[in-house]
Chain length 571, copies 2
């Protein structure tokens, strides 16, 4: 491609409304343009990358034995009523009526459509296993779309759905997709991790997310220093930080703490070790519990894991904290003075708190705390659960090493749905024994457009994007210096362009009448992995200059060897 016949659309300035690096660079490199909030047009450079990501995903998903289909973007609303998801999705599910006032939605995902298809098309266990996928436009009416295509409303997603006769089959389909994802992200040259994920409200027996590691990631991932263990912090199991509860060494005393409304104040004013303090949080209880509010007790230096809390059958979902008024009405004290001793409410204790002796907590009286509390002696322990986020240094739940945390961007998810949808939609087949069997389903998604943004978050410097070869919009840039004045440079550039193109290499030939500086900075901004600079000075010595975008290295290469050199540099 010649820049003179291309829509380069690079920008010198960083647009004001772009907060994250990938959004800034995608705008500056002429990859996308905003059409409206959360709606982006993919310009030629962006689309070239998007198509490469799409192609790699398609090939690996095909190799895993899945078969491609294409479902409409517009789906009948009634299918969403069949599974009850019409309500669950809330306003993210964009609804509208057609000219005959029939209700439809813009597809955010396609479990309903595919399950309805399979229940019609597949009738025998002999037709299984079956894994159908599509790469199609999706729409989620996000309340606050942001970060460019990272959280846009319209986006491209690969969504696959597997159907198996039993759980064993589902596990095989799931494992095959896991491997396909790994191969695809490997080929894209991304630093990513499959991590255990919460399977939350949907249930199902297993779920993993695929995260591209990047400091700007919205998710925290817990890794073991000594094993393959990796889990989203939402899911990462927090173990008890002591083997067993030590015997009391202190008496319980009631202490006036008028100026200690937070753990930090308590610790500071009374010189308490923070590991010997606890926080008591009041949340709405579920119908399982004979009370409106239930208390959750975690150590003073720990954070409540809201997903773990929400998954407890005793806690209402979605999680809702009690208001100060509700707390006062119940115990007569504010949220800064709560604790288990004398509490007239059901409570659940975090694993680590359960093995903590001689601890301090609020006395359920404003301005007063108990110090030296011990389970059993001062208050009954009761239900113990994993309630907190892991922190760095925690023993890894796998039993090997300790936890370290990194940030990640979720680009994929694989999920064992089980019979959740197939049961509601009566999707079954005749089994080998002639009886109807409800199918075991898995669902699998990759945010195709998001992968592009995540790749940039992970691969950039102050000059612009640094594409991995496999997903670069162009593999090689030819930058001729003063081509319009030097016939020799022009001839060499044209010849090289023809040669590289004939070798199947995608070349961006910068044939604009621009200063070399402008051309260099555009190619760096675009992130083309390999640049060949053609100039009179180096040609006098029989060379072109090769520049590697990632390492920044510049090497003179003999003119005759340049094509081979480029090939050897391409990974």
């Amino acid at each position: 491609m010649r820049t003179s016949k291309y829509l380069l659309s690079t920008l010198k300035e960083t647009p004001n409304d772009a907060e994250v690096v990938s959004h800034q660079l995608m705008l500056r490199a002429g990859m996308i343009r905003k059409l409206a909030s959360g709606l982006y047009t993919w310009l030629p450079t962006g689309l070239r990358v998007l198509r490469k990501v799409e192609t790699i995903i398609r090939q690996e998903i095909d190799n895993a034995g899945a078969i491609e289909t294409l479902m409409p973007v517009v789906q009948p609303f009634e299918l969403w009523e069949e599974t009850g998801r019409s309500e669950k999705m809330g306003p993210e599910l964009l609804r509208f009526t057609d000219r005959h006032t029939r209700p439809f939605v813009l597809s955010p995902t396609a479990e309903e459509v595919i399950t309805a298809l399979v229940r019609n098309e597949v009738s025998s266990y002999k037709q299984l296993p079956l894994n159908l996928y599509q790469i199609q436009t999706k729409f989620r009416d996000e309340r606050r779309p942001r970060f460019g295509v990272m959280r846009s409303r319209e986006f491209s997603m690969m969504d696959a759905y597997s159907f198996d006769i039993d759980k064993e089959g589902l596990q095989k389909s799931y494992d095959a997709m896991h491997d396909a994802y790994c191969k695809a992200f490997d080929r894209m040259g991304l630093d990513y991790r499959p991590v255990l994920a919460d399977s939350g409200a949907i249930g199902g027996s297993g779920s993993q997310e695929f995260h591209v590691l990047a400091e700007s990631g919205e998710d925290l991932i817990a890794f073991s220093t000594e094993s393959d263990y990796a889990a989203n912090i939402e899911k990462a199991e927090a173990v008890a930080l002591a083997a067993e509860l030590a015997a009391p060494t202190q008496e319980m005393t009631l202490v006036d703490t008028p100026n200690a409304k937070t753990i930090a104040e308590l610790v500071e004013q009374f010189e308490l070790p923070i590991e010997k303090t606890v926080k008591t949080l009041f949340v709405k209880a579920s119908d399982e519990v004979d009370a409106d509010i239930i208390a959750l007790i975690i150590r003073g230096d720990h954070e409540l894991n809201e997903v773990k809390a929400e998954n407890l059958k005793e806690v209402a979902s979605p999680l809702e904290m009690a208001s100060e008024e509700e707390i006062r009405a119940l115990v007569g004290a504010g949220p800064g003075s709560l604790g288990p001793v004398g509490l007239k409410l059901p409570f659940i204790v975090d694993r680590t708190v359960a093995v903590t002796s001689d601890f301090s907590a609020g006395a359920n009286v404003d301005g007063k705390h108990y110090f030296g509390i011990n389970w059993g002696r001062d208050v009954q322990l009761g239900q113990v659960e994993d309630l907190r986020n892991v922190v760095e240094g925690d023993p890894s739940p796998c039993g090997k090493g300790t936890i370290m945390l990194k940030r990640g961007i979720e680009v994929g998810h694989i999920f064992q749905l089980g019979t959740n949808y197939s049961e509601k939609m009566n999707c079954g087949v005749l089994g080998a024994d002639g009886k109807n069997v409800i199918l075991e389903m898995g669902c699998y998604g990759i945010g195709v457009t998001r992968v592009v943004a995540a790749a940039i978050e992970q691969n950039h410097d102050k000059y612009g994007i640094i594409w991995p070869d496999a997903i670069a919009p162009f593999q090689v840039a030819i930058v001729p210096m003063n081509m319009h004045k030097s016939e020799r440079v022009q001839e060499a550039a044209e010849k090289l362009y023809a040669e590289l193109t004939a070798a199947g290499i995608e070349v961006l030939f910068d044939d604009r009448k621009e200063r070399p500086g402008v051309m260099f900075s555009d190619m760096e901004l675009l992130g083309v992995p390999h640049t060949i600079v053609i100039g009179d000075r180096s040609m006098d010595e029989g060379n072109f200059e090769y520049k590697n975008r990632r390492t920044g290295d510049k090497t003179p290469v003999a003119m005759a060897d340049i094509v081979e050199h480029i090939k050897s540099q391409m990974s």
Copy 2:
């Protein structure tokens, strides 16, 4: 691909609600399934064809110098107000509001979005010419979706938009797209024609449609028997059927015709030559005319061309016929007795009627006609226009040969828009002289999904589809007879499958435990161009059997030669 691992989904019976052959065969061959009215899921076999059509189009449009982009399916409504098309499109433009009650539409086309993009991204004539395209989902809320993907609501379209500094540039861009379309349809192996089309209300200086010829086509195309002339009947110029007006040979007489309310009755009862009769049609006049109704006069055996009528500045658009009440109120007679003599209304005469002497027409009195009317002597001629449809045998307007008519399915359209959109949206650049120039635009569409249906309308027989090689879902089918009983057959089939696949040929290997008859009819229904039958009997003679889907020929081919034979058969 092995059928055992594929979603074949063929149907024996023709579904009731499918009227046209392509719709029937796409359902029966497992290419599509209906999700809701005008919404179809593409099953694996259908998608394979769709992707091939898409790829051929993409390659040829790329070769024409256009650059691919991707615009959102969801577009802000306000852009459609900028060009006034929000009204013009009527209820086909599906509108909805997002969660913040901002108005949006589902894209039926993208002139507004692309023009808004180019006005921001392109500032100098040096960046031109520019042709941007996309292959993207479109939506038109058809009042009555039908014929499967031929007239669905959601469909895939290639839409391109060219931007040039002047009309000469536009003509070049237009010609390049014309050639790209021809190359694409040639490669697909379709019998198609580019034909002149009406550019109607949008204006612009040129427009051609691309039609796949098929008896089931909704459009009539006029061809010359002796030149390349081809035009949609809407557009085809109808010439006068005589060189000049002959002198009168009859007196004008008023005749009682109480039982002749139609031309057919008049001709039959009075033994008149139909070429000596005329029809007078009353239609709503435009504001250009000092009357509410205007009369259009065509020969008794001709049909009014509504598009030509509508394009006249004297006629209201859209065309509306006067009601019988309006006619009676104006002339005191019914629609069966109208004519130019004594008519107190403006009228326009078709070219052929203008050179007809001694003709009959209604007398504007119920039950009476004038016979032997002659222009000038009995009534003044006035305005003459081309008002009628051409008919077979007419002299071709190109001057060579006569007209013949064929049916076609419109699959593409190319259009010189001129400054229609660019002016309204203020899309200009700095010209060489530093002054702002409003850009000359062209727009170009191919109905990608419709091409698939049109190809089937043109290529089928009673057994199913007959794909051209280039767009077949699979190029070769391997049908082993009783493979599950004969180890030799199985080995040969597996070996051949591996060899053909390694040669880059797309093979459907029917490894199901089915009777040969079932396998043959499925492969015929699917339309796989080349089938290799492997059976013990022919193997005894050292042969496989080769079957050509289009010719029906069956040939024994030596086992060792089969791969070469297949390659030689593939076009």
